[in-house]
Amino acid sequence: MGFHVGNPKSAADLVQAHQVHRDVYISPDVYALEMKHVFANAWVFVGHESQTPKKGDYFATQIGNQPVIQVRHKPDDIHVLLNRCPHKGTKIVIDRQGNTGKFFRCPYHAWSFKTDGCLLAIPLKKGYEGTGLEKTQNGKGMKAVGAVKNYRGFIFARLADEGISFEEFFGDSLSSLDNMVDRSPEGRLEVVGPPLRYMHYCNWKMLVENQTDTCHPMVAHESSAGIAVKLYEELNLPKGAPKPAAMQIIAPFMSPYEFFEGMGIRTWPNGHGHTGVHHSIHSDYSAIPGYFEAMVETYGEEKAKTILDENRHNTVYFPNIMIKGPIQQLRTFIPLAADKTIVESYIYRLVGAPDELTARTAMYNRMINAPTSIVGHDDLEMYERAQEGLHVNGLEWVNISRLLEDDENHEGEAVLNGTTERQMRNQFDAWRKFMTYDQDQQEAAK
């Protein structure tokens, strides 16, 4: 401890091809570095445009440990501002969402700001004459993030003023987001209700890694998925009788290793990747009447089939979200401390599609992602046991070498056996890259 303070390069050395040092999960110093560098240099998910549909609507969240506000400045223009009054630091908004009207007004001394952050007015402004206030950031207004991108309704931001472009950062991985949105016959999603909010006393990366950990469901979730299968068999329902909902949603977690091996994992540069290249636990969901017809109407039969045949299971967008295209879900793993993470699980409605699809999505969310979920309970148990176990001295490396290939590199796209840990290695490769990204750029410029 203390060793990594202010030294992103030494933190980056905690990552090797086949293992990572436990400090990446438990060290507050490494956590501080990843907030300052990884979360500033990467493009991080903020919110969905439908959370702020009207002018003046805002939504408050975090990018890493930085409090931010997503606000609609003009009908087609969403801004992301740091949630801090430039006067003395007071958070400008404290509720999770609302409408601020034409401007933000700080409740402490009434400095006010346009919804793009620019300073509007200061009471008794004369008192600042000759102080040079107007030349400082404090005098300009609320600070904005470095860059914002609205990609098909999803708002991403980069805190750093300079850095990798949105297109380069995500590359072909955007095909998963595209597929999720294309599933709407109108090509549009809308957020449904508030997210589930689930507090974990573990490092945020454990949760992200678990999204493509295909060797755990049949083990960790035996108590829920295994007992679901048993209870179903005991029901002895006649052939063709509709299955209980839990059988569609929970039972596939009990699928054998071969199923997960065969489903495949694809990775893209910069830490993105997904499970379910060939099939997934979402493949066998029953068809919903009227939906395919609506899709054919918009896209024609061939394209509609191509969109719906995609069964990507979990797509991880580095650093900290996962989406499920086939059921329009997004989970964001918001870091609060080295050993504290809040998971928010959102669902979206496919505009123009039957309500039954939203109902299934809502059901999945509560059955799997809720703090009351019998599946979630065992996941949390595993993460928190790991967070505690990692303090053991003398055994300080975490192994991530499953199906590691000689000369593995993450510069290009790859498709592999679905039980590889390559996506975890891919995330750490990106973690190392964005940990030192600003330093590397500065050195290259010298």
């Binding site: 209700g193 108590s223 295994g226 679901a228 179903y232 109902a359 065992d378 148990e381």
Partner: protein, 157 residues
């Protein structure tokens, strides 16, 4: 066959005691087969189907939940959680023939290992009298701070 206010109130108390004592099979037997246990996510939520809830469980899910608590490989229940209800005298909001609606405020405590959480709740029970026995037709639990981030809630309020 009719039922008195006291009998309805006793039923609500008895149900809470069953849950606290882990008598889950008896508790399941209180339910009508098409009942749902609903715990909304949003304050004053009105739609259990098309929005996310914390729970909206039919009898299959409730049985699964109960059976899982005693499973050999239920890792999050090793050791087991315990719970404790402190309930206020239920209001009987409706009495229509064989159906009744009650509204009960309670403090629900759940504990495991070194952690203990306290939830302030309002329970709405839809009860039906069947063959002289009160049964749970539906149950709705509203958590006062439903918009807060929760740790595991593993047992049933």
């Amino acid at each position: 066959m009719s039922v008195s206010k006291d009998q309805i109130i006793d039923f609500i108390y008895e149900e809470a005691r069953m849950l606290d004592e882990g008598r889950h099979d008896e508790w399941l037997a209180l339910w009508l087969t098409d009942g749902h246990y609903w715990m909304p996510l949003d304050y004053k939520q009105s739609d259990p189907i098309n929005e996310t809830s914390l729970l909206y469980e039919d009898m299959f899910m409730l049985k699964l939940r109960v059976e899982r608590l005693n499973g050999a490989r239920t890792f999050s229940q090793k050791p087991k959680s315990r719970c404790h209800h402190v309930i206020q005298r239920p209001f009987i909001d409706e009495m229509n023939g064989d159906t009744f609606v009650t509204n009960t405020s309670m403090h629900y405590v759940e504990t495991r290992l070194d952690e203990q959480q306290l939830l302030a709740l309002t329970a709405r029970h839809d009860l039906t009298l069947v063959d002289g026995q009160l049964r749970i037709a539906n149950k709705r639990i509203d958590i006062l701070n439903c918009d807060a981030a929760f740790r595991n809630i593993q047992l049933l309020p």
